[in-house]
Structures are given as structure tokens and as C-alpha cells.
Amino acid sequence: MPEIWRMILQLPFYLAFALLLAYLSQQPAYQHQDPGHALIKLSLSHAGEHKEECRRLTPEELAELAPNMRRPISCNRERLPLLVEIVLDDNLLYRAYLAPAGLSRDGESTVYKRFPVTAGTHTITARLRDSNRLEGFDYEHSEAISLSPQQNFVIGFNADTGGFIFL
């Protein structure tokens, strides 16, 4: 077969390869999130209170310890889990007990969660309990916000600046 014919025969192959590359490197477009939705991201790290308060050991207890370990005050390092709640327009969006990190459960509790919601005006309430109270919360923040489509709305937390931060 003459060279030129061979090259012409090769064209469809190259064309198909090029089309495959051009198409699949872009298409089909993927809808990651409904364009009419906004995203609420909850992201916080906070250490709950210690599970038990420090206490003075009784002389009997002290006597049982090895001499070099005899310290009059015993502090259990274990922390309480956090209770976190997010309410969106009276609907409970999220509620969870967050266990503290670490083998001895003495670290911060952390959560990172995403909630796609329809754009528009919403009342968002965030609550957090970090103590051993049985009812109610130690921190709470509520705000009416207007979410635009595709907005990324972050709920953060910083105890030093007073608790929840809505960004």
C-alpha cells in the first residue's frame, strides 16, 4: 500500500484518540452540588471539661501508692464529650456527642461536617455543651442569615472569643 494511503487510513485512529482525550478530559460535566444550594460547614475543635474534678487523696490511698508516686492531689485527665447541635429553621440538622481525642480521652473533640441547604434566609442555631450539666448548653448562638446560592457558610467555634463564630 502506498505510504500516503496508509496515512489516510491512520487519520480516523488519530481523530478518534483526539476526540476521546478532548471529550473525557472535560465532559460530561459533573454536578457536585445543586447550583441552587448553599453549603453549611461545621468545623470545630474544643476541649470539654475534665470528667472529674481533682481531689485530695485519703491517707490510706496515699499509703498504697509507691513512695515516689505519692502526690496528695489526684487529677483524672479524661475529658467530657461535647454535645453539639445545629438547628436550621426549627429542624435539627445535626446532634452528636463528640468524643475527646487521645488514648486517655484527654484531647480536644473535633468535628468537620458539611450540610448542603437551599439558598435563602434561614435561622441557624448552634449549641454546644462542654460541661457535665445534664440539661441546657454552655454555648449557644442563633442568627438569621441569608445564604446565596453556592455560598460556603462556616460555623466555627472559639471559646476564647465567646463561642460560636458564623462566617
Binding site: 473525557l24 478530559s25 472535560q26 445543586d34 481525642a101
Partner: protein, 524 residues
Amino acid sequence: MRRALRSVFERIDRFFDIAFTPAWNPMQQLGALGWFFYWIVIVSGIYLYIFFDTGITQAYHSVEYLTHEQWYAGGIMRSLHRYASDALVVVVFLHLLREYVLDRFRGPRWFAWVSGMVLLWLLYASGISGYWVVWDKLAQYVAIATTEWFDSLGIFGKPIARNFLNHASLSGRFFTLLIFIHIAAPLMLLFGMWLHIQRHMHPQVNPPRGLAAGCLIMLVILSLWFPAMSQGPADLDTVPSIINLDWFYLFIYPLLDHYSGTLIWAVVAGGTVLLSLLPWLPAVRKREVAVVHLDNCNGCARCVADCPYSAISMVPRTDGLPFEQQAAVDPSLCLSCGICSGACPSASPFRRRTALIPGIELPAFPIQAVKDMILSKTQDLAGNNRVLIFNCEHGLDLAAAPMTNFAQITLPCVGMLPPSMIDFTLSRKYSDGIFIAGCREHDCNFRLGNEWVQQRLARQRDPYLRERVPAERFTQCWAGVSGFKQGLSELEVFQERLARLSPPARQSPESRLRDGKNAECANA
């Protein structure tokens, strides 16, 4: 089943053969094309890096500059970088599929297979990190989805996705790490690619020039016609909703929106482990590996030159014979193809005084057995178009051919046939012609067997076929398992041709007896 699958692949090959010729057939150059596309990616990547600004806020603009202001160079380089990376994925998966279907991944080939699995991971690390460094909306999506995916493993104390929480939390630190990964992963890929072919003698790492040129021209035209673009600057205060994904690299990401990250990890990790174990599920029933018979090895190193799997090396002489070196086989590398005995000068059937034991051979398929078969199988042939076919287990099989007056000897690979056997068969008039049938050109099951046979018969490669062997009395047919029809017609033509030649006198019964006796004494 395998034969059927193989036959499907061969049919596709046949189709490409017409347009590309066997030498340029892209389906037989998939590994080499992989190397070629890799080099395009590297060269274009170096160019892009010269103009790339590694700051997270500047990165996007530097890429935009390359794409638009410098479209004639930087823009083309960017598109080449993207499309050659995509083409690499295409050829790598075809390559994987091909090696699997053709059952070329068990036995000592496990090394190429398992290292190939590692290459896949490095390839994806390179590609995915590449989409990240542009820092457009796609990059933002990939960055967040990837970090969230890693967070699902629970190995980081604090979720690393928090680096991309919103505009305020964005830090350049993570971005710099990413750029580092995007340079390190391709370099590791290169090292892995080098390792991948360590067990191959003469690995095919460069596609034929015409095919390479065709691919490069195709990529350049594609880059001009459909340049790679960014999808708007990343903005962490918004969430990209509709994204144009590169499905070659990012097909996993949509799954992450529907299944848990840990499940996807389990699937990709489990899939990798399972695929990596394939060479042993089940392992090949392997013929015994080649053995060296020192008495007959003169240290010429021809077997080393011809072994496709670098299984033989020359080592200092141990038996006191007056040669410097001797051949030694590494059993863990040997695929028992027998090509080495086809290369050994002492595999000559003309030797009378000593038994026919070559310097190297397969214990399960000794060269003496080949000679015995020549004698026994040709016994009942008569007339002037007697054909002896040497074929290969993995190639064309003509046993079921309807014509008469032929016999077939099946070897592990036709590369095992010493050219002197052809001379012997024809000069001793055991047949009127020799028909060599094997795998398709450039598709030898043992990589180089058919190439070596062609070169030996063309007197271009040691051991040469002797000049006295008449060219019209032997022929080669590289038709593969799917080429029965082609084989038949070529055999028919060959037999007709032989019938037209003036017939050589048949060998006398005495000489057959002599050759046979010789064989017996050798066996004893």
C-alpha cells in the same frame, strides 16, 4: 478461554496492522507509547514550571498568563501537558488489559505486574496533584474532596480539610506541599518505570518514529484546536457546583459524594491488593527452567544476548575447561521459553561424535527431542511437497489443516529452534520444505522469539542459517493464534511452490538409520 480472548486482541491488532503496518501497530507499542507520553509530560511540565508562580494567590494568574498571553508557547505546552497525561492513562490501561488478556503476568513476570500496580498509584498521584496546583474551581473541588477523603481515614489529629475551610483559613503551606508532590510523584513514577522493565532485555521504551510523530502531531493539533483552560479562580467562600472533570484522573471523585470515604479507600486498596495477587491466582504451571550443560558450553554468550528476560549471565568458569566464562541461569527470572537453546552454537544436530546436548536447554524439551521428532514425524511423508512445520505453543497451530503431507513440531517458542535444525532437515532431505509458524510480528509471547528467528534466518543474527540452505525451501508465517486461515493459504502456496521445484532425492533409508542411531546413542 484465554486463547479466545487472545484471538479477540489479535483481531483488533490485525485491524491496526492494515493502517499502521505491524511495525507501527500502536496496540503492540502500548508500553513504549506510555514512555513517550511520559516524556512529553515532563518536557512540557518543565516549561510550565519556569513561568509558574508557586504562591497560592499567584498560581492561578501565572497559569492564566501562560494560557492566554503566551498561548503560542505556554498555552500549547499546558495543553500538551494535560492531553499527554490523559493519553498516558489510556495507553496504561490498555497495556494492563493486554498483558492480562494475553496471560503475560504470571511466573517471573509477576515483577512487571506488581511494579505496574505501583506505577498506577504514582500515575494517579501525579495527575491528581496536577489538577490541584492550577488553583481554579476544579482545583478547589479536588483539594477539598481529596483532603476530606484522607480525613475519612482518621489518621490526622485535626481534619486536613480545614486548610480549605474558607478564604480566611487558606494557607500557602499546604499548597506548597502539593506542588512538591506534583514534582516528586512524577519523578518516582520515572524511577518506577525504569524498575518495571528491569527484567526485560531490550525493553521497547521508544515507539517507532512514525507512530511517535503521529501521536505528537495529533496532540499538538488537539492543543491548538481545543486548548486546556482553567475554570475560574478558586474562591473558598463559594462552593463549585458544576465542574468539568477530567474523567481519566478524577473518576473517583463523584463516588465520594455518594459513598463514604472509607468505603472508597477499602475498594481502591482492596482492588489493588487483589490485582497485585493475580499472578498467583493461580500461579503458572511452569516448565522446568533452562539448565546449562557445562561440557557443551564454550562461553560464547549468545544465549545471554538472546534471552528476552535477562535470565542468563556469564560467570567465571568453574569446571577448568579452557574458556573464561560460562553461562548461568537465574531460575527466578527464567520463563522456560527455550530461546537460549536456539541461540547456542552447540545445539547442532550435525554433531555425530558426541550426543546432541547443547550448552543450555530446557530439561522438559531437550534439543535431542527436537531432532528425534524430526526423524519420527517425517517418516510417513511422501512426494515432493513434504513440509515440516515448526510452530510455537502460543502462536499459529496448523495441526488441523486439511492438507496432507505435512508434519508439525510444536515448540515452547519457535525461537528455540537452532537454525542448524533447518539446515539439517533440508540437507538430509527429511522434508522438502520448512514452514515456521509463530506469534504475530512484534507480539511474541516471549517478547523477542520471532524477531530473533527472522534475524537468524536472514543471516543477520548469530547463529546464522547457513548460506547453503535454499531460500525457496523455507518460509515464515507470523499469523498468531487467530491466523489459521492465513496460515492455511500460506501453507498451500508453499506446498505448491515446493512441488514445482525439482525434487531433491529422498534421503536413503540408511542415512535415516544413521541419524536415528546417533539419536539413540545420545539418548542412552
